[in-house]
Structures are given as structure tokens and as C-alpha cells.
């Protein structure tokens, strides 16, 4: 079957999908539609990498279907640290703060994604304050979570 057919997701479905992602949940649906329309839908075969740690980032990916694992390079080879699936957003760090990819993401099954290019992402942020606020909120929450984890780790270490 030639490519692209089996996953003929419509724009409307993509918008519904985007709304289920926390980062986009409060963004105006018409903006999400524009985001979806302007984004490319990319599919990855099992084993294919979405991106590789250390590469420069040009897009973030929203997983529409399938599953992928997040790998981090370690002295003994790559170590799987997490799995991502439907509705997850990956690769946004590299496009937000211009650092190389912090991990490798590899498809485990057929993975369908919506690729939001760096340009588009920044266009949306600068164009729609509401969108920017949501991005900020999401990042702040993550920071809070990570700080919490760090605090726990530190106090656990102090106890031992």
C-alpha cells in the first residue's frame, strides 16, 4: 500500500487530538486547526529514529498513533528511559531553547506524528499570547515536577 493512505487522518481529527494534549488544551480550536493545517504529518517505521541525541532540532512531534521509546546515551550504550505514545509531545526542548537533541526517540511500532516545525512553533508563540502562556504553564509545571524529584532525591541521599 503506497504511503500515507492507511493513516488518512483528517484535519478535524487532528484538532481533536491536539486538544487532548495538555499543552494545547486551552488554546482556541481555530488556532489549533491552523497549527494542524500548517504542520506536516510524518510517519515512522518501526526502528526508525524520529531524531537522534546530539542532532540539532528543527521540529517537535506530536504522536498521533503508535509507540516510541526515549533513549539516552550512556557509557554502556543507549539506555531506554521512557516510552511515549498517543498524545505525547516530544522534541520540544530542542526547538524551544536551541540546544541539541537531549535524547534519541526511536519508533517501536509504526508511529504517526504531526511535525511542528520550529518556525511554525515560534510563529504560533509570537502570534498568539494565549498559546505562549500555555507553553509557559506547561514548562513551569515540568520544572516544578523536576525540582520536586530533585528535592526528594537530595533528601533521600541525606537520609541514607
Amino acid at each position: 500500500m503506497p504511503g500515507g493512505r492507511e493513516v488518512a487522518v483528517s484535519l478535524k481529527e487532528e484538532v481533536d487530538l491536539l486538544r487532548n494534549i495538555p499543552l494545547f488544551s486551552k488554546v482556541d480550536p481555530s488556532k489549533l486547526k491552523l497549527l494542524a493545517f500548517a504542520s506536516e504529518r510524518l510517519t515512522f517505521a518501526p526502528g526508525q529514529e524520529l531524531f537522534r541525541q546530539g542532532d540539532s532540532g528543527d521540529a517537535a512531534y506530536i504522536v498521533i498513533a503508535g509507540e516510541a521509546e526515549v533513549l539516552v546515551d550512556a557509557p554502556g550504550g543507549p539506555v531506554a528511559v521512557a516510552r511515549v505514545g498517543k498524545n505525547d509531545l516530544v522534541g520540544e526542548i530542542a526547538i524551544l531553547c536551541d540546544v541539541p537533541r537531549t535524547a534519541t526517540v526511536k519508533a517501536l511500532s509504526n508511529v504517526v506524528t504531526l511535525a511542528i516545525s520550529k518556525d511554525l512553533f515560534f510563529q504560533m508563540v509570537s502570534e498568539y499570547p494565549q498559546f505562549a502562556i500555555e507553553v509557559m504553564r506547561e514548562l513551569a509545571e515540568r520544572l516544578d515536577r523536576t525540582t520536586g524529584q530533585l528535592r526528594e532525591a537530595v533528601s533521600a541521599k541525606a537520609r541514607s
Binding site: 504511503g3 488518512a8 484535519l11 486547526k33 491552523l34 494542524a36 510524518l42 524520529l50 510563529q123
Partner: protein, 883 residues
């Protein structure tokens, strides 16, 4: 060149000028008769003075009426004869003028080719273009007139004047009594106009120079937001030109005013004095009528003569101003540039420089006291810091700048005295920035092999006639009679036996400079005419077959959606799906499908018209929803929207009207606009839900109808997708692919081109694809290539002609580090046993050379083998360490 335009005219068109003058003289008796006859008609035929009828003419008796008609018939005949003379003279002088203009332009252009290099620092491209193109244009007209107008019009004037004198001396005197006044005043006024004319020429040159500069420096204008300043200076220049032109008008019309007034004084005297004489009975009425008619005609040639005088002054100034610029000292002798030597021997001797010196125009010393020898076959590097004079030395060795002092010889002969046909064939030079001509890549590559026509082009029937006519005219204008369409390529010089072998060799040389992949890509993107290149087309079809078999591999199959006449292609536009082919020409161009009557008919038969309109409405409403609140000029419009910002409100209005009153309320042109939108849809990419399975089914039906009923006149307007035939409208890559790259698979384009490359290599097609790539048009000055590609091409061009001496002047500086080193090693290996002189931008690269000349402050401070010079405290060591 002749300093005076008349000298130039006489030197090259003396015969024509004599012929045209004789023609004028021959016409005068008829002209005189033409003025004489009316008098006879009035006096003898009508008034029957001194005539008794019937009269006998040539033995035939004529009544008064017959006599009148015979005379009138004669008059008619004379009219025809006079006009025929005028026509012949005009055509002949036009021909003469055009030929001379052609010669003049050719002479000037050739001079440009022989200018010493520094001339171009003083004379800009814009000025040269302005002079050769615009300024000499009116000269052609003048040259045709130079002798014929004074002869013809002056003669006419004299004839008419003679006629009037013969009728009545007083009347004649009255008619011309103010001519001396005109003769006195007009030149005085004309001198003013001339001065402004000179000024105008100067200003116009400045203007075209300025435009040229703006075009080449337009990037800087954008970078520095200098548009306003540029506009201001341009406006100032236009203002100055306006002023001068306006003044010219003022004076020109003063002259005209005086002339016309004076000319009308004639009739005043005729009516008053002539009338008085007629009343007194001292003059016949017929004579007065004829004199008045003649005087009216007297005004015309007189006017012509005066305007000739003005034109002559104008032409004289223009000619002098142009010639002055093209008369450059130290211009190359024509013979040195063009005379074909009996044999072109290889350059076997050594370069010897002693106390070589180079100054610029201001006397600033660039190179001084350079003495060295370069043995034949040696590879010599010239190194030095910026400003050390190494590039000037390279230019001198390539004979592109003349030496100011000392001597520079090759094989004991002064380098400057060697004929260009020798140096241009046995030597080559590549500078840091190379120029390409606006032609296919191949022509640029072979530029160094085309010195003279070698194999005549074959012409037949009409072609031959037009070629011969062209040749005759070229000869008559002293232009080159070489045929640019002949085969000029010197295959022998490239060491091959013909065109095909040269293509192979060209590809080999391009590989030396790491350009083979670029050319391969150009080839894949290129198109061919399958009729002209049936072999390549057949082999590409073979590759298509091989690629289609590769689709058994599911991974590759997911990358391409193959064209299938029975299936809708989700990765192609609706337009492509309908045509099932590519448009040729504008008939079925995507943006015109919605207005094409045949397409509309097909849609209607397939019952797709309303569906398409509905799809159009859907697309329009989505676009309005997505883009309505974006600012105008937002880049999203350009990149994603089907509808421009300024059109959005119109579509909005259409949509709301459809909402209220249905699609029937649309005006025809609104229907067309709406209908045009879905033709651009690609379902796999746009995901707009506008195209469902029912739509696709009906479109397949429409596709069938479109092909079956295609009227014969549209036959050539579509290049259909046909598995067994080469598609002339598609690129090589698309022909191999025979389908659309699928939207979706990540890194699809990259994986497809890898798969294609595999097929191409397995079928040994790479060279054929690259041969097509050689046909890639490089654009104006090579603008469609990157600067690195241009530079690589220039190096390849010089290597291809197998020079005995190759001079390179920082030629690889723009290449990236890796390919720079590789290219250098390969070129040096290729030119083993031939002289290579390379001015390097990095001293460490000199390790690969037999000898090194180290320059500092315009002098050669060290020379010898790299190992000898690479020692503590040497300039070379310093240069290497500074890298």
C-alpha cells in the same frame, strides 16, 4: 578609429554615398519638369494662351481637351517618377545607415574585447552598454543621410529655386530674402543646443552607470535600508537630465519658431507682389500659381536642410564623445588577438622574470624587483600575506595585466608579445571569482575549447538561404562572418575524438573538483526531448522498470504512490489526477483549468461539477476560518493559504451568499473562482476532508472522459502518464519514479533519491544522467549556481583544455577545507609534467609543490623548495604559523 564622423563615413561607405548622390542628381530633371508642367497646364491647356488648337504633338493632332488630359497624364506620370526616386533613395540610404551602424557597433564591441584590463576600472559596464547600444543608434540614421540629404534636399531646393528664378527673378529674390538671416542666427542658437546635447550624453551615461551599480549592489541597498538614499540620488540625477532636456527643447523650439516664421514670409510677398504684378498684367496668373506651389515646396527641403544641420551637429558630438572613450592607449593589436597562427606549438620554455615591476594608474607600486625562473613542468606555489602582491604576480603571469617595468618572458619571448590564439589555447587562468556565461553548463565548460569554427553547420533550403543572406550582410558591414552555430569545440585540444568522448572527459574533470554529484542532481531535475535523445529516454524507461520492481520492497513502496490509470493518486493534485499527465503550455495550466471549456464539459458529463463546486466552497470556508484574522502579508498566506489576504473578504461574501441563497446565486466568474480552488488539493497533504471516495470515483470517470474525448487541437497540451512511454514534460527523476513521492514517510525524499541512485548505478546510467545535467542552464552570470559551484566549474573548464601552463589565483579559497585539499591534489596529479603556478591563500598548502615563491611587500623575499624554506625565522614559517 577616425576622429571625425565624416572620415569614418567616407572610409567605409564612399561608394554607397556616391551612388545615393547620383540617384539624387538623376531625379532633378524630373523634379524640374514636375514644377514646369502645372504652369503649362494652366497657361496653355486651360487658358489657351499662345496656343492654337488643335495642336500637333509628336505628329498627332490634339484638341484643347485632349491636350489638357495628355498634360495631366504626364503630370501623373511625373508624380510617380518623383515618388519612386524618393522611395529608392530612402531605402538605399536606410540600408547604408544600418550597415554603418552595424559596423560601428561591431568595431566598438571589438575594441572592448581588446581594452587593457585597467580600462574597466575607469569605464563602467553601464557606460559601455549605453554607448554601444543607445548613443550610436541615431548615428546610423545620420550616416545614411550624411550626403544624400544635402545632395537631394539641397538639389531639390536649387531646382525649385531655379524654377522660380526662371519665372520671375523678383519673386525668387523675395522667397529667399530671409535665408541669409537664418544662415546667420541658426548656427549661433545651435551651438547652445550642442553644448546641452553634450551635457545630456554625459548625464545619460552617468544614469546608466548608476542603474548598473544599483542592480549589482542591490543586496547592500536592502541590508542597509538605503533605498531612500538611492531614490534621492536617482531623483537628483533625473532632475539634472530633465533640466538639460528641457533647455534643449526651449532652444530647439526657438529655432523652429524662427524658421517657420521666416518660411511663411515667402507667401506674404508672393500674394502681395505677385498679385500686384498679375493685376498690372506683368505676370501671368498660371506663373503665379506655379510659383506659389513651388514656394510651398521650397519650404520642405529648406526645413529638411535645417534639421539635417541640427542632426549633423548632434551626430558629430555623439560620435566624438563615444570615440573618445573607446580610444584607449595600449589596446591590444587586432592581429595579436585574432590572426590564426600556422601552428599552435606547446609552450615548452621557462618563465623568466627579472626586476619585474607593476604599478597601478596612480603610480602606487604593487610588485617590485621580482626576479625568478619557473622551469617548464614545475609546480610552483606563490604564498604571502594579503597585499604582498602575490595575486598581482599571478595576474601578470597569466598576461592579464601588463608589466610596468622589468621583463617577463616565456621561452625567451616577451609574454606580452605572444599572440592570444597561442596563450589562450596553451595557457589557462582561474581567479578567485570566475565569470560564467548565461548558457548551459556544458557550454561554460567547453568555453575554453572554442577558438574558431571547426566543423561547419549544415543548412538546407530556407535555412541555407537565410544563412547566406546573413553572411553577405555581415561581409557588407565588415562584421565577423564566422558561424556561431558551427561546431567550435576543439576536441583534439581536450584529447578526445568527438562530442561523446568529450562528455565523458568533462564528467571526469568535474569529478576532480568534487562536482559530479551536483551535476548528477541537475541531470535528475533536468528534462530531455525524447525525440532528440531516444537512447537516453529508452534507458530512463529501463530505469523506471527497475524502480517499479524495487517497489516489491514494502519499505520503498511506502515512499511512492505510482501512477495508475485506474486509481486515484492521493499524493497528486486534483488537477494532475484529472489530466493524468502534465500540462504542456498554458492550455491546461493548473490555474486555468476552472475556466477551460473542455474541462468544464468533462466535469459536467462526469457529474462532478457540483461536487467540485462544493469542494471549492469547503476549501474556501476552511481558508477563511484559518486565515481570516491573520495580518495581511503574513508569511502563512504565502506558505499555506489557497487564498491571498486581499481576496479573503470576497470569498467571505461569496460564502455567506451561498449560505443564504444557495450556489445558484453565484455569478459565472465567482463560480470559476470557487471551482479553481479544489484543483490544487492534494488529499494526503491537505487533509481537508473535501475529497471523499465518491469524489474520487467520479474523478476517475472524468479522467477517462477527458482522455477519450480530448479534441485534436488539445492533443499536444497534455503529456500523459504512460507506463511505457517517456514523459517529455517531466524531469528524469519523475520519469524514473513514475509516481508521486508520498507525503508522510519521514525523510522520504532522501530515501527515494537513495533508491533511485541504486537503480541508476545498477543500470550504469549515472553518466547518461550527468550528460543531461551538463545541459543545466547556469543562469545570468551563473546565478543559478552557488559561488562554490561556479568556482569549481571554472577550474574544471581550465583543466579540460589541458593547458601547458595553468595559473591559479586563490582559485579554491571558497571551497570547503576537504574538497579544497582533494581538488588541489587531483589537479596537481592531472597536470603532472605541465607548469602549474598557484597563488595560494594558505601557505601550508604549498607543501605539495616543487617550488615556493614567498612574497612580502610586493617583492619575492624567499624562493626554493618548501623543505628548504621551512626553517626557523623564515617568512614562510611565519606565514604557516600565522594560519
Amino acid at each position: 578609429m577616425d576622429k571625425n564622423i565624416y572620415q569614418y563615413i567616407l572610409r567605409y561607405s564612399k561608394r554607397q554615398q556616391i551612388v545615393v548622390t547620383l540617384m539624387a542628381v538623376a531625379s532633378f530633371p524630373f523634379l524640374y519638369a514636375f514644377y514646369e508642367l502645372p504652369k503649362r497646364i494652366v497657361n496653355n491647356a486651360i487658358q489657351a494662351k499662345n496656343t492654337a488648337f488643335p495642336v500637333e504633338v509628336l505628329g498627332v493632332e490634339l484638341t484643347q481637351i485632349d491636350f489638357l488630359f495628355v498634360l495631366c497624364g504626364l503630370f501623373l506620370l511625373l508624380v510617380l517618377i518623383n515618388q519612386a526616386f524618393k522611395y529608392a533613395i530612402n531605402v538605399y540610404r536606410g540600408l547604408t545607415g544600418e550597415r554603418m551602424l552595424r559596423r560601428l557597433r561591431y568595431d566598438l564591441y571589438w575594441r572592448v574585447l581588446r581594452f587593457p584590463q585597467p580600462t574597466f576600472r575607469k569605464l563602467s559596464q553601464g557606460e559601455i552598454i549605453q554607448m554601444i547600444n543607445a548613443e550610436v543608434e541615431p548615428l546610423g540614421g545620420f550616416i545614411g543621410d550624411a550626403f544624400s540629404v544635402p545632395a537631394f534636399q539641397g538639389g531639390t531646393l536649387l531646382v525649385i529655386f531655379g524654377f522660380v528664378v526662371y519665372q520671375n527673378v523678383w519673386l525668387a529674390a523675395a522667397a529667399v530674402m530671409f535665408y541669409p538671416l537664418q544662415f546667420y542666427i541658426i548656427p549661433k542658437l545651435q551651438r547652445r543646443v550642442n553644448a546641452y546635447g553634450k551635457e545630456r550624453v554625459r548625464l545619460a551615461r552617468g544614469l546608466s552607470n548608476r542603474i548598473g551599480e544599483t542592480v549589482s549592489g542591490v543586496q547592500e541597498v536592502h541590508v542597509h535600508n538605503a533605498a531612500r538614499l538611492e531614490l534621492a540620488t536617482f531623483s537628483r540625477r533625473l532632475g539634472a537630465i530633465f533640466e538639460v532636456r528641457f533647455r534643449i527643447y526651449l532652444w530647439k523650439f526657438v529655432i523652429k519658431f524662427i524658421n517657420n516664421t521666416v518660411n511663411h514670409l515667402g507667401p506674404f510677398f508672393f500674394y502681395s507682389i505677385g498679385g500686384y504684378l498679375v493685376i498690372q498684367g506683368r505676370l501671368e496668373l498660371g506663373t503665379l500659381v506655379a510659383v506659389i506651389a513651388a514656394n510651398k515646396d521650397l519650404a520642405a527641403p529648406w526645413k529638411e536642410l535645417l534639421s539635417y544641420y541640427q542632426m549633423r551637429e548632434d551626430a558629430r558630438i555623439k560620435y566624438e564623445q563615444v570615440i573618445e572613450q573607446f580610444d584607449v592607449p595600449e589596446m591590444m593589436e587586432p592581429a595579436l588577438q585574432l590572426d590564426e597562427p600556422e601552428t599552435v606549438e606547446p609552450l615548452k620554455g621557462a618563465f623568466a622574470a627579472s626586476s619585474l615591476r607593476l604599478e597601478d594608474e596612480t603610480g602606487h607600486v604593487l610588485v617590485e624587483g621580482a626576479s625568478f625562473r619557473i622551469e617548464p613542468g614545475q609546480h610552483v606555489a606563490i604564498v604571502g600575506a594579503g597585499g604582498s602582491g602575490k595575486d598581482h604576480l599571478a595576474l601578470m603571469l597569466a598576461r592579464l595585466v601588463g608589466v610596468s617595468g622589468g621583463s617577463l618572458t616565456l621561452d625567451g619571448k616577451k609574454l606580452a608579445d605572444l599572440p592570444e590564439p597561442l596563450t589562450g589555447r596553451r595557457m589557462a587562468y582561474v581567479g578567485p571569482v570566475s565569470h560564467l556565461v548565461s548558457a548551459p553548463l556544458r557550454d561554460n565548460l567547453y568555453y575554453g575549447l572554442k577558438h574558431r569554427p571547426l566543423i561547419d553547420a549544415v543548412y538546407e533550403a530556407e535555412g541555407l538561404k537565410s544563412f547566406e543572406r546573413h553572411l553577405r550582410e555581415a561581409e557588407a558591414s565588415g562584421n565577423s562572418t564566422d558561424d556561431p552555430d558551427a561546431d567550435w569545440v576543439d576536441y583534439e585540444a581536450a584529447g578526445v575524438d568527438g562530442a561523446e568522448a568529450l562528455t565523458g572527459r568533462a564528467i571526469e574533470v568535474l569529478s576532480m573538483v568534487d562536482m559530479e554529484n551536483d551535476v548528477y542532481q541537475f541531470g535528475l531535475r533536468g528534462t530531455i526531448d525524447p525525440e532528440a535523445e531516444p537512447d537516453t529516454a529508452a534507458r530512463i524507461l529501463e530505469a523506471r522498470g527497475a524502480f517499479l520492481r524495487r517497489l516489491d520492497d514494502a519499505e520503498i513502496a511506502s515512499l511512492v504512490e505510482v501512477f495508475d490509470p485506474e486509481r486515484y493518486n492521493d499524493n497528486a493534485t486534483v488537477a494532475e489526477n484529472l489530466l493524468f499527465g502534465l500540462p504542456v503550455g498554458r492550455t491546461f495550466a493548473p490555474d486555468r483549468l476552472a475556466e477551460n471549456p473542455y474541462v468544464l464539459e468533462v466535469l459536467e458529463i462526469a457529474k462532478l461539477d457540483e461536487t467540485m463546486l462544493e469542494a471549492g466552497r469547503h476549501v474556501a470556508s476552511t481558508m477563511v476560518e484559518l486565515f481570516a484574522d491573520l495580518a495581511p502579508g503574513h508569511e502563512f498566506f504565502e506558505r499555506y493559504s489557497f487564498i491571498g489576504h486581499e481576496e479573503l473578504p470576497e470569498y467571505q461574501a461569496m460564502l455567506s451568499r451561498i449560505g443564504r441563497e444557495g450556489v445558484a446565486s453565484l455569478r459565472p466568474e465567482e463560480r470559476t473562482r470557487l471551482l479553481a480552488l479544489p484543483f490544487r488539493l492534494i488529499p494526503a497533504r491537505h487533509r481537508l476532508d473535501a475529497i471523499d471516495d465518491g469524489f474520487k470515483q467520479r474523478l476517475l470517470e472524468a479522467r477517462r472522459i477527458f482522455a477519450d474525448d480530448l479534441p485534436p487541437e488539445y492533443e499536444g497540451a497534455v503529456a500523459r502518464f504512460d507506463r511505457d512511454h517517456y514523459n517529455a514534460a517531466a524531469s528524469l527523476q519523475d520519469n524514473i519514479l513514475f509516481g508521486k513521492a508520498a507525503y508522510g514517510p519521514a525523510r522520504g525524499a532522501e530515501r527515494i533519491s537513495r533508491a533511485i541512485a541504486e537503480v541508476v548505478d545498477r543500470l550504469d546510467l549515472r553518466e547518461a544522467v550527468m550528460a543531461v545535467g551538463l545541459g543545466f542552464h547556469v543562469g545570468i552570470a551563473g546565478g543559478r549556481l552557488s559561488s562554490v559551484q561556479r568556482q569549481k566549474l571554472a577550474i574544471a573548464r581550465s583543466v579540460l583544455k589541458r593547458p601547458d601552463v595553468l595559473v591559479l589565483n586563490e582559485a579554491t579559497a571558497t571551497l570547503d577545507g576537504g574538497s579544497q585539499g582533494r581538488a588541489m591534489e587531483r589537479i596537481l596529479a592531472e597536470l603532472e609534467g605541465r607548469t602549474v603556478i598557484w597563488s595560494l591563500h594558505r601557505a601550508s598548502l604549498a607543501r605539495s609543490f616543487d617550488r615556493v615563491l614567498v612574497m612580502a611587500g610586493g617583492a619575492v623575499v624567499e624562493q626554493g623548495a618548501y623543505e628548504e624554506l621551512d626553517r626557523e625565522g623564515s617568512t614562510l614559517r611565519e606565514l604557516v604559523e600565522a594560519e
